[in-house]
């Protein structure tokens, strides 16, 4: 682990990517606690999404995609779990039935053949056009992160201007709450 200077026995474990779902009290500073924990202890955040989920109970769900060796992932979960406003931490990757989706808005500028090609690809990826001018489109696309990566990559040479992603929202499959 990176938190100690000393060479550790487990440094050679290979890193894994995990999707964690953290249910927290929706109170001021709770996001700062979570983010501060990651920066303070040198953990990675690949994606972070937060929103209130149960208004009456003042609960928010924070979805974090992080990478680390199995020992670091275990640490991250334990560290999150001991924050006072945290209700529970669920490792959706370990439970094995993770549904993860992301939304992106992608602005593409172009004319002629490039414009037609962008529209055609948008169709193939089931992206919706949510704004259009004679020389531009804004696509809305949802899906797994790698699908969005791929679509953004394809738009690159076709006049990609900029794009915005929501980060991952995730939940477990099946009837049970995670």
């Amino acid at each position: 682990m990176n938190t100690t200077h000393y060479p550790s026995a487990h440094i050679f474990q290979s890193p894994e990517t995990h999707t964690l779902s953290v249910v927290v009290d929706n109170e001021p500073g709770v996001l700062a606690r979570v983010v501060g924990l990651f920066s303070g202890r040198g953990y990675n955040i690949e994606s972070l999404t937060v929103s209130e989920t149960e208004h009456e109970k003042h609960l928010s769900r924070i979805t974090i995609v992080t990478t680390g060796t199995p020992m670091v992932i275990e640490q991250i979960k334990n560290q999150l779990d001991r924050l006072v406003p945290v209700h529970r931490v669920v490792d959706l990757t370990v439970s094995g039935k993770v549904l993860a989706r992301e939304l992106a808005l992608i602005k593409v500028k172009g004319k002629g053949e490039a414009r037609v090609e962008a529209l055609r690809l948008g169709d193939a990826f089931r992206a919706r056009v949510v704004d259009a001018t004679t020389e531009s489109f804004v696509f809305e696309i949802t899906g797994k992160s790698d699908k969005i990566d791929e679509f953004v990559g394809l738009m690159g040479p076709l006049g990609l201007v900029e794009y915005s992603r929501t980060g991952v929202a995730a939940i477990s499959r099946g009837p049970e709450a995670s």
Partner: protein, 586 residues
């Protein structure tokens, strides 16, 4: 019981309801309403420190020596930022504190108002939890919740930041209720299957060792009793971290002394060669483990800790038991009695024979002198002089702290207050103030270095004001000794900025501050001088002038393993022992 009262009144009511008897603090603009309430009551004694860092360390000393929650009150802005070192210290050593900070009125928050700072933002990483109370309706709940969070589970410091308008506002106060916190529920009972498994492993071990830490002390005196019972029943050797000293009697045959960077040869070698480590309330930190890939290579590990995040953080363990040390030990002893495991006596005897050889090397030996006081000798004479007395020790940080840990023998928990995790120079004097407040009739001694003392010596004035006869026993070597030692070992003897230039005359200083100063420079005069120090019923600064060249051994150099220790005799070729990689480590 619910009553209408102001926020400031609620603070005092809640402190009283939570059993707070002593409050360490310093007034300022945004806590004046609370100070006004302090003025009007007599139940809580307020100790006026000279710097907010001192208030927090004093509360730590109070908490550590009583097992109660320490209480602190400081103002906004600089009051809060000055408290940060103490809060971090308490977090790393798991000391329960409630620190109340004043804040500018809510409508001024975020405006860079006079003496405003983002207290909850600044203290978020150095507290177990913190709150900014913006509504009077939330104040009573948060006050009681704060005490619950501070003292339960793994204890730690909490901060309640209260804007001045909330202190003036009126609301309904209610006393502490036994409501379950909606998210925070620390686990105290250990998993029974894990405990049974652990007892089985203990029964089968051939070269076992107990490795115990501050968690035993935090669990209360009962846990120390249970530990003693288990260690006696098994007949196993036991070693302790710096924070755990006193949980097991220091003079007992089975006690191998402290382990780690400045631990004894027998403790470190026993860890290195053991086949089972039973870690009780300790956390495998870097001062203990040394080089991780060479740490206890043959040992299976059982780890008892109340904090799940301590487990598998640094060292992967075989049997983790999450729970309070007291509860877990109680269950372990019960299972032990039920199952009656048969210990391999012959193997254990062989193990003890091996340990006897390491012990025989007398790793703490030093060259005595008639001319100059050796720091180790001074501590030994001090220990001799306080024998049979009701005594508490605090320390600063550095060589003197390690010598104190090596040479003092504690029979009881809560008698040893030191800054372990954070290593805060300047901890000892204010901590002694806190200890003496809690134990007015006891002897409280701060074993100090002349450099550390200079960091918080204004608190001598606090001791004088409250007639606290603390003894500041300075091992004066005119160096930041541990810095100098590392410079000697790692940086070619270039003593960059580690000489204590322009030291005050400590005897005159004591006099000027209203205490008593004693200086001793000769070994032959030491006993009489110590006797005088103990006899004086005032704060004493004892300037014990010691050998400036003495180093603290044994030592595991950074980047080395438990079986690669340095000893006093090996001083000449010490430069070769630490490689380039080791120099990078702290």
């Amino acid at each position: 019981m619910s009553r209408q009262m102001t926020g400031a009144e609620m603070v005092i009511a809640a402190l009283q309801d939570q059993g707070v008897e002593v409050l360490f603090g310093y007034p300022g603009g945004s806590v004046l309403p609370i100070y006004d309430e302090i003025f009007k009551q007599e139940k809580i004694r307020h100790v006026l420190v000279r710097h907010e860092q001192g208030a927090v360390h004093a509360a730590e000393g109070y908490a550590r020596s009583t097992g109660k929650v320490g209480a602190v009150l400081v103002t906004s802005g600089p009051g809060a930022t000055n408290a940060v070192t103490g809060l971090t210290d308490a977090l790393l050593d798991s000391i329960p504190l409630v620190c109340i900070t004043g804040q500018v009125p809510t409508h001024l928050i975020g405006n860079d108002a006079f003496q405003e700072c983002d207290t909850v933002g600044i203290t978020r990483p150095c507290t177990k939890h913190n709150w900014l109370v913006k509504r009077i309706e939330d104040l009573p709940r948060i006050l009681h919740e704060a005490f619950h969070v501070a003292k339960s589970g793994r204890p730690g410091p909490v901060v309640i930041d209260i804007p001045k308008d909330v202190q003036f506002a009126t609301g309904t106060y209610h006393g502490p209720k036994n409501i379950q916190h909606k998210t925070y529920r620390p686990k105290v009972k250990g998993d029974m299957d894990a405990i049974r498994h652990a007892v089985q492993m203990i029964g089968k071990a051939h070269r076992p060792i107990f490795y115990t830490g501050g968690g035993v002390i935090n669990s209360g005196p009962h846990a120390s009793q249970l530990l003693r019972e288990l260690v006696k029943t098994t007949g196993f050797p036991i070693t302790s971290t710096l924070m755990g000293l006193g949980a097991y009697p220091g003079n007992d045959e089975q006690f191998l002394g402290m382990l780690g960077m400045h631990g004894t040869l027998e403790a470190n070698m026993a860890m290195h060669e053991s086949d089972l480590i039973i870690c009780v309330g300790a956390r495998f930190d870097d001062r203990i483990t040394g080089r991780l890939d060479a740490f206890a290579p043959h040992a299976k590990k059982i780890h008892i800790d109340i904090d799940p995040s301590s487990i598998n953080k640094i060292i992967k363990v075989d049997v983790p038991i999450v729970g309070d040390v007291g509860h877990v030990l109680e269950d372990m002893i019960r299972v032990w009695k039920q199952t009656q495991p048969t210990i391999d006596k012959a193997a254990l005897q062989k193990w003890w024979d091996k340990i006897a050889v390491w012990r025989g090397r007398k790793c703490l030996a030093y060259r005595a002198s008639d001319e100059i006081i050796k720091p180790q000798y001074a501590i030994q004479r001090l220990q001799e002089a306080v024998k049979g007395k009701d005594v508490y020790f605090t320390t600063e940080v550095g060589q003197h702290q390690m010598w104190a840990a090596q040479f003092l023998k504690f029979d009881e928990p809560n008698r040893w207050m030191t800054s372990g995790g954070l290593g805060t120079m300047g901890y000892g004097i204010p901590a002694a103030v806190g200890v003496q407040m809690a134990h007015p009739g006891s002897l409280v001694i701060d074993i100090a270095g002349e450099a550390s003392v200079m960091m918080t010596m204004q608190e001598i004035s606090t001791a004088v004001q409250y007639r606290l006869p603390i003894k500041i026993f300075i091992l004066n070597n005119h160096y930041m000794g541990m810095v100098r030692q590392w410079q000697e070992l790692l940086h070619g003897g270039r003593y960059s900025e580690s000489y204590s230039e322009a030291l005050p005359d400590f005897v005159k200083l004591a006099d000027a501050m209203g205490g008593v100063g004693i200086r001793c420079e000769k070994p032959s005069e030491l006993d009489a001088a110590i006797a005088e120090m103990i006899a004086v019923k005032k704060p004493v600064i004892f300037d014990c002038v010691v050998d400036p060249a003495e180093n603290c051994f044994p030592m595991i150099p950074s980047g080395k393993a438990h079986n690669e220790m340095l000893f006093g005799e090996a001083v000449e070729n010490i430069g070769d022992v630490i490689d380039e990689k080791g120099k990078m480590l702290v």
